[in-house]
Amino acid sequence: MAKKIGIDLGTTYSCVSYVDEMGIVRILDNREGEQTTPSVVFFEEDGRAVVGSTARDAGAMNPERIVERVKNYMGDADYRFYANGKEYSAAAVSSLILKKLIEDAELALGDEIEGAVITCPAYFGDGAKYATRAAGENVVLSNGQNLQVLRILDEPTSAAIAYCNSKHEDMDKTVLIYDLGGGTFDCTVMKITINGDEKVRQAITTGGNHQLGGKDWDAALAEIVRSKFCDATGADENEMMADPECIAWFSENIEKAKKNLTSRESTTLTLNWGGYKERIEVTREEFEEATAPLLDQTILLVNDMFEKKGMNVISDIDEIILVGGSTYMPQVTNRLNAEYNKPLTSYEPNKAVAMGAAIVASEWTEQQEAPLPIGFGGAGDEQQETPVVTDAILSKSYGLRIVSGGEYKVLNLVYKDSPKPCAGNSADAGQPLVITNSADLVDEVPILVLENTSFERIISLDECDPVFVEEPIKFDGAVPGNNAVSVEIAVDIDGIVTLSLTDLVTGRTYQMRPKRKLDDVVSIGMADAQSTSLM
């Protein structure tokens, strides 16, 4: 029977999981026998592509053919990668990574895959999520069908789902998920209610910094070691860091040293460079002192998130769940204890996100149809009705450009942290529109839809980013130009935005055809990616 899986499509590493017949969540090994696959793609000269660990090796001689960290560009309409005379969007490159993950999963399971839940960072806006879904739908399965993307799921929510799933005792808790990974930091507040077999997960708010992670701790430790070595030997630090063999030594030994400091008060490394040898001792105290500002940043982000929501960790949180490999460091637990004095639970730090995705995939039923696949020219033709799933909340607010006080501003119609799917319209917000002053029929509306992270009703245009290309947006029908109309912004369960227009005189509603800047871009390279063989 075809399987549904969860995919943690990471910036540096990706992971696939599924729920087996016994209800146990399992991580699938790739064909190289690894539980995580580096999110790296190398384009061979013959048109084939290599994805994963061997991609870095394959691309070492030709680094211009390697793509890494493409996830950072998923919402970037200007991003292109060129190889073999072809160009690829970020979505097309991600499609190759997903293709590798799916092929390996089918091999590991010995069964077809029919659908997948794909995770993405909470900070991803409409464009990045749209591109992620398109990347998934571009994958052709072994049965010739395209992959059904069941959901695009926020990573912290996914981790919370995995945690919730592991609990069997009745509970009614509000938890903070503190997710410190290798390259990103996310925090989410979620309410979990378990009553017998009934489990309800309700996301409340989310925040984070996608440039902050364990790699910053590694860099700080490397700096300590380098500094001590150069002080002891007189070696030139710049020369050291220009030596590839020295760089390789640091990459092999620093993470190991950091892990040693998790269980010991100090660690010693012998660095051999330029004819000098020194044994460098680093104490946990030194390491924690050097990295305290990094930890402070995470605390500030958590406190800021609570403040914006009008909440308080100490009064509103029952427990803090630690996710992400970097939370193994004692300084994290010590600091959270000192700051908040709440029970701390470490739950599968390296696998929780993938596990949550698998759980959601396994819960998917035929009644819960995913939104129709997105064509590369616009949003889906119909809106499927889906039940409100409260473990998913908006990570952004969405609104329309208006003129207020003689200047452009943005009127938010749907707000960050609202459960998905959701919708808001301009009439309810007190802003019915008139398209023209003429009674002539019109079939387009000159509006601009923008996204932001504010909870305010009206905000400055500077704080927002456009979701769609600025041009009159067509709709399926025509209305007298001087009829009052209302524009509705709807956000589906995956966080993807659609628009509709209601003629307030006739009561008729028309689907709008907004154009994303990504619409012309996301398809670039998709056909090539689909037909590319993986080595």
Partner: protein
């Protein structure tokens, strides 16, 4: 037996399709060689997956078909013996061969079970190797490559005697770090690994790899149908089966050893397989300390470099032996050209000569593999053509 008889008609049908029958062999052919080949062919037709004279089963089939052929068909005329005498001889042989066959079948079944156990143990070992041996191997590799780098870069800077002594001392400290990282504690004569005293753990004298490498002799063939020839044939067959059974006994013993170890230690059954190499790693500390001490005491301006490099080299060689015991293979060459998976590129060196593109300029370390897995790539600089 009945099954075998019942299978003969089928075999005959298959063989008949090739216009050769068992009966035909013994009725129509006088040539011994053709008889053997035809008999083998009959066996092949009957059991296409089995190649005659390659392993036990076809040996059984061969013997059996010979038995059955002997009981069913008229024996060939043998110089020096009458047909009746040959018949009697074959009747005497038949139960003997049947007893041997039963013994082989019994051991074969036991072999199947042992093979299964072998496989399970091997799977454990391979899975275990990945998790346990590999972590041990990585520590050994790190120190070995450090020693080799020291020797390779010797001369980069003029060292003082104090620096020689200091760096030699570092080697001992580095080895102590290795012991700590591997959770090995040396307490007098005791070796404590993961808080367990493994000092008395028996060391296997034979490994599965050694058993599997053993080859089996060819099954003897009867070529001389005189009494003496047949007697010699029987003797060689007995000797053949004897050696097979002994090899099985050896395999039994090895499995038994592993099972005994597993029974003795309940925590992490597979950890038992680490004990021999852990023991060796622990015992090397004293040798290393003594070696370094001797070098330090004998250091002079004239011999410092030689003693220093010598100590590093001896340590690297000892670590190589330990790595071999972990199942790690070390390759100091690999190839002249950059190879995916095996090489880790540190930097490219530009060249105008397209023929040099991808050629290795410099090797910084060895390649380390465990089974099919590369566990530590060889770091290299590679030429890259600018045209």
């Amino acid at each position: 037996m009945d099954e075998k008889i019942n299978s003969v008609p089928e075999a005959t049908e298959e063989v008949s399709s090739n216009n050769v029958t068992v009966a035909d062999v013994f009725v129509d052919n006088q040539d011994d060689e053709v008889e053997c080949v035809a008999a083998a062919k009959a066996v092949e037709c009957a059991t296409p997956a089995v190649e005659a004279a390659q392993c036990e089963e076809p040996a059984v089939e061969c013997e059996e078909s010979v038995c059955e052929a002997a009981t069913e068909a008229e024996p060939a005329v043998v110089p020096g013996a009458s047909v009746e005498e040959i018949k009697q001889l074959l009747e005497l042989i038949a139960p003997h061969l049947a007893a041997v066959r039963n013994q082989i079948v019994h051991y074969k079944e036991k072999d199947v079970n042992i093979t299964k156990a072998n496989k399970i143990m091997q799977d454990y070992r391979e899975g275990f190797e990945e998790k346990m041996f590999k972590s041990v191997a990585m520590e050994l590799i790190s120190l070995r490559e450090s020693c080799r780098k020291t020797v390779r870069e010797f001369g980069m800077r003029q060292l003082s005697l104090d620096e020689y002594k200091k760096y030699l001392g570092f080697l001992v400290y580095d080895y102590e770090d290795l012991l700590v990282n591997l959770n090995i504690v040396i307490d007098g004569d005791k070796v404590i690994y993961n808080k367990r005293d493994i000092s008395e753990a028996p060391v296997s004298k034979i490994t599965l790899a050694e058993i599997e490498e053993q080859t089996y002799p060819e099954l003897p063939e009867i070529t001389d149908y005189t009494f003496e020839g047949i007697a010699n044939y029987l003797a060689s067959v007995e000797s053949y089966y004897d050696s097979l059974l002994k090899d099985n006994a050896v395999r039994d013993r090895a499995i038994g050893t592993y099972i005994d170890h597993a029974a003795l230690y309940e925590q992490g059954v597979y950890q038992v397989m680490l004990y021999p190499v852990i023991s060796r790693i622990a015992r090397f500390y004293d040798k290393l300390s003594a070696d370094v001490k001797e070098c330090v005491e004998n250091l002079t301006e004239d011999n410092a470099g030689e003693l220093y490099c010598g100590c590093m080299t001896r340590t690297a060689n000892a670590l190589e032996g330990m790595l071999n015991e972990c199942g790690v293979l070390i390759d100091e060459y690999v190839s002249d050209s950059y190879e995916l998976r095996k090489h880790r590129l540190l930097k490219t060196v530009p060249t105008d000569d397209p023929a040099l593109n991808g050629r290795i300029v410099k090797r910084y370390c060895d390649l380390y593999t465990m089974g099919n897995e590369v566990i530590y790539q060889m770091k290299v600089d590679v030429y890259k053509a600018t045209t």
